[in-house]
Amino acid sequence: MIKLEPRGERSRLMSWLSPILAALLTMLTGLVLFTLLGVDPWQALTTILYKPIADTYGLAELAVKATPILLCAIGLSVVFKAQIWNIGAEGQLLMGGLFGSYMALQFLDNDSGYVLPMVLLAGVAGGLFWAGIAAILKVQFNTNEILTTIMMNYIALNILLWAVHGPLKDPEGFNFPESAMFSQSAILPVLIDDTRVHFGLALALLAVVAIWVLMSRSFVGFQIRVLGLDRSAARLSGFREKRLIYFALLLSGGLAGLAGVGEVAGPIGQLIPSISPGYGYAAIIVAFLGRLHPLGIVLATLLMALLYMGGEMAQIELGLPLALTSLFQGLLLFYLLACDVLIGFRLRLTTSKPATAPAAAVATDTAVIEARG
């Protein structure tokens, strides 16, 4: 039988191979699934992974889809490093979209240059506001941030629905739950002609570089990493834990807010009920898959954006349900968590079952704790 044996230290190689292995296993599962569904697996695979980006237009759309995911995920990489589980990127994104839309709707007949910065700032403020509440709840009241941020996702969605059915609804929109189209001055400029790639992508890439520098070169980044590795060590070193929690949560919230306003003031151009097909949740998977590292996150973002496009393509061309995307997202995360066992353990084939010995158990125990950090 196969036995897991502690490595004694974390394997850096496996930590990077694990996401690749997980992606391959997900693909393999997909092939089996398609065969069972009676779809030609090879055709399905190319439809999902290749066809969406077979031409330049497709590649541009990939960048459009990647923009909000990247912004959310790069922010999450900072909070997750601090071992703070912000599951609320989705809600923070929606609030960013809502605040940004509110601002854009104040300037419907204004083509001044300050409109767009105001709209973007409002979006960031929306994300900051929503993450700020979660931060206060965590720091001042000690509430579990997983549950509060999840609850706030549902609240944000309902507030957005209320706004788009009520105060922000276009009075001339035949009662559709949509806001008026924003004026051109509130729309992010297109970066590449004849595509929908907008300025938000530049901001997202800027954020990636900035956070790379922050986390690997700055003292704040160092403090956040220490906080995540060992709370008491951080406290003993005199790091201000509360401030760091506020900083990390607000940073990720602000970036998610920017992602939200980037959607309404980018490819969408108005406030609608569904501004995100779960980008904030996808970003969680991306952050894990990318090992909380900027470069890894960029690659994982591209894969996730491709999955979104592939899901749509599979729906159009093969008649498969759109939920294929979220199914694969879940599978990917499962396989990743399962493969991550190989970071701390190696597989060993054993011929007989070893006898149970308490001493060995204790030894294994400590080895495992060290191995898994």
Binding site: L4, W85, I87, L137, Q140, F141, N142, T143, N144, I146, L147, T148, I150, M151, M152, Y154, I155, N158, I159, L161, W162, H165, G166, Y281, I284, I285, F288, P321, L322, A323, L324, T325, S326, L327, F328, Q329, G330, L331, L333, F334, L337, A338, D340, V341, P354, A355, T356, A357, P358, A360, A361, V362, T364, D365, V368, I369, R372
Partner: protein
């Protein structure tokens, strides 16, 4: 408010609280063993869709409920294998379970959205059901509501008065000591996880076979998460889970109360109430330093002493 309205509100409160009660009882047992499974939402959705599909194709509600329980168990088994055999992080695995369950349920349920079935009907006991105020609440519910009460009684007795319940608590408080005196930590935790899955599956199918009854993507609408908060609210005590579930049931149907009182508030804003209530409850309980002492001590921590 007139008597009819109060009667209806109490009836709807229990009915709405029932899925929360069932899923929270499962999570309570799971957490008592020291395992935090954040995948309740995903397991509920799988229970909802599988129960619905089976009932629609066989015409049998019983088979639907049983299939939903099985679906929940299978989902929790994935969680068990990844967290116990591969000692993965319980928080991340639970999240993965929810994301996976949301996706898989939407995937297999695509062709069943909006299809009609005859759901579980409330029972009607002559005289008793017609009693004012409490008649419908206590005597006019469907069978699953009574089953949920029986489950509550069972879980209460199990935790507080049975020997296996003692073992469960020992494993959750200190798995190493439990292991040292020869208690099967892994087996206990597996059983607790599977029970949690079964309950989440059943709770999900209550939504799709009795409460609504139809299948919709994401129809559990955060109830799995609210149940997690409920267990915190209940300080890991079964009797308070019942109270909490019904209170949250009430928070979810406050729009009925508001309408009855003649207020007109946006339904979207009213829909935020159960989530706001959850946050409020978490704030009140978490800022009290003593409340955290009642959580099972090893909650969320993996157990490795396996040879």
């Amino acid at each position: 408010m007139d008597i009819d309205l109060i009667t209806n509100i109490l009836y709807a409160m229990v009915r709405t609280g029932t899925p929360l009660l069932i899923v929270a009882l499962g999570e309570l047992i799971c957490e008592k063993s020291g395992v935090l499974n954040l995948g309740q939402e995903g397991m509920m959705l799988m229970g909802a869709v599988v129960g619905f599909i089976v009932t629609l194709s066989t015409g049998s509600l019983t088979l639907g409920f049983l299939a939903a329980i099985l679906a929940g168990i299978l989902m929790s088994l994935i969680f068990g294998v990844i967290t116990m055999e591969l000692s993965a992080n319980q928080v991340a695995t639970g999240l993965a379970l929810t994301i996976f369950g949301t996706g898989l349920s939407a995937f297999i349920g695509t062709n069943y959205v909006g299809k009609p079935i005859t759901g579980l009907e409330p029972i009607d006991i002559p005289v008793l059901t017609d009693l004012p105020i409490i008649g419908r609440m206590l005597f006019g519910q469907d069978l699953l509501v009574y089953l949920s009460l029986a489950l509550f009684g069972g879980v209460y007795w199990f935790i507080n008065h049975s020997r296996p319940g003692l073992i469960l608590k020992a494993v959750g408080e200190n798995p190493h000591s439990a292991n040292a005196i020869g208690l099967p930590v892994f087996k206990v935790r597996y059983l607790a996880i599977l029970f949690g899955g079964a309950m989440a599956g059943l709770a999900g199918s209550y939504l799709s076979l009795a409460y609504t009854p139809l299948w919709m993507e994401n129809m559990s609408a955060g109830r799995g998460w609210i149940a997690l908060a409920l267990v915190v609210f209940a300080s890991w005590k079964a009797e308070r889970v019942l109270l909490g579930a019904w209170l949250f049931g009430l928070a979810s149907i406050l729009h009925l109360v508001f309408q009855g009182m003649g207020f007109s508030v946006s339904p979207n804003l009213l829909a935020t109430l159960p989530y706001l209530a959850t946050i409020a409850v978490l704030v009140i309980l978490s800022s009290n330093q003593n409340s955290r002492l009642v959580a099972p001590i090893s909650l969320g921590k993996p157990f490795y002493a396996k040879t």
